[in-house]
């Protein structure tokens, strides 16, 4: 089951990203040149990022669809941890339920750092 979550998560993310990539490349017409040599810090919390992404996806924007694929990919290991929590609970393994909650808590902290202002 855990193997399945990981496999399908990666497949799904890959498919979404590929579709977004094609749309992005077609709409670019290969004309504009890329600028990635200068880093522009872009502080957005996760909630805003998800909202912006959903907005863009609904409009059919290629980059937003790629972003959705990336979000799905990042969510894949997280889903695996949440599923483990349920599996340990079913096994009545209290110690590992606690350990899994602790891991989820640490990941939550990493999400919360974006909401600091």
């Amino acid at each position: 089951m855990i193997g399945k979550i990981l496999r399908w998560g990666v497949y799904l993310a890959l498919t979404v990203t590929s579709i977004g990539g094609l749309i992005y490349l077609i709409n670019q017409h290969g004309q504009t040149s890329m600028q990635h040599s200068v880093f522009i810090e872009n502080d957005e919390n996760l909630w805003t990022l998800i909202k912006l992404t959903v907005h863009g996806v609904l409009k059919g924007d290629g980059l937003s669809i790629i972003e959705l694929g990336i979000l799905l990919l990042i969510a894949t290991p997280l889903t695996r941890v949440i599923f483990s929590l349920w599996a340990f609970y079913k096994e009545k393994d209290r110690m590992y339920v606690t350990i899994t909650i602790l891991v989820l808590f640490i990941i939550t902290i990493s999400i919360l750092t974006g909401f600091g202002g």
């Binding site: 998560g9 890959l14 490349l25 790629i66 350990i99």
Partner: protein, 279 residues
């Protein structure tokens, strides 16, 4: 360079990086960072993109290992406490800009050299049937299937030492946008005395969650750019799949050695560029 040509160059480069990473056992992310840097991409975007590639390749291969029953899921979850704490700390160090980019680049080169040298090391089989008290308390013992169908039992030692080494591996992962797989294997092999088969698969399994903890911080700071991630993520995965097929078919000892020499040269160049302030 137009967007289309840049994307194609990046795509082909990522396929090669995935192939190289899988053949040498170093992982895809480690080669993505220098590749992007050579293409003129800023270091922050490079580590952000590499971390996304790391999640893709590790999740893909972990899926196969979990199915075989070699991965120790409890040990993975237990040590993920350490790696995620480390990753959050490492990613915050980068995001807060406390460490200059040049220092991060030099550190990257050093870690790359350590990983390459580590891949040459001969691995002696570990057979520890005894298990430390801590290991028993946290139920870290396990079995793995042998080639003849029987199950081999193993115990663990030095849980606290392994835990701290894992925390360090997490910091490196969050700081450099890589999986730090080599350091995870050292923590489990050399310190905790876990059999090699179990340590490599369990470390791979942990890389995804460790990288995710760092990725949320990268994401919210704008390090992860979709236009860069798209060709890299797809390319690295394709390369890694091809690499694992080659590994199954042929004896790759010479090939691996050749590639790790190449990686050493890249590492030295990264250190030189960091030192002279070109990054």
């Amino acid at each position: 360079m137009t967007t289309l040509i840049f994307t194609i160059v990046l795509f082909i480069g990522s396929i090669l990086a995935g192939l190289l990473g899988s053949l040498t056992g170093l992982g895809g992310g480690v080669i993505i960072v220098p590749l992007l840097t050579y293409l003129g991409v800023d270091f922050h975007y490079a580590i952000g993109t590499a971390l996304v590639a790391v999640i893709a390749t590790s999740s893909g291969s972990a899926a196969a290992y979990v199915k075989e029953g070699v991965t120790n899921l409890r040990m993975g979850m237990f040590l993920e406490i350490a790696t995620t704490i480390g990753a959050v700390f490492g990613a915050l160090l980068v995001a807060s800009r406390l460490i200059p980019t040049a220092v991060v680049a030099i550190l990257f080169g050093i870690i790359l050299i350590l990983s390459a040298v580590n891949s040459w090391r001969k691995k002696a089989p570990i057979e520890e049937h005894v298990c430390s008290k801590m290991g028993k308390k946290f139920k870290l013992t396990g079995t793995y299937p042998a080639s003849d169908g029987t199950h081999i039992k193993y115990g663990v030692k030095n849980v606290i030492g392994g835990f701290f080494m894992m925390m360090l591996a997490g910091v490196i992962s969050g700081l450099l946008g890589i999986g730090a797989g080599a350091m995870k294997v050292i923590a489990m092999d050399n310190i905790m005395r876990v059999p090699f088969k179990v340590s490599t698969t369990t470390s791979n399994f942990m890389i995804g969650v460790t990288a995710t903890a760092g990725a949320f911080i990268y994401l919210q700071n704008g390090y992860i750019h979709p236009a860069l991630c798209m060709p890299v993520m797809i390319g690295v995965l394709l390369g890694a799949i091809a690499g694992s097929k080659i590994l199954l078919q042929s004896n790759t000892a010479k090939l691996r050695f050749g590639f790790s020499i190449f990686i050493l040269l890249v590492a030295l160049d990264m250190i030189y560029k960091g030192w002279t302030g070109q990054i």
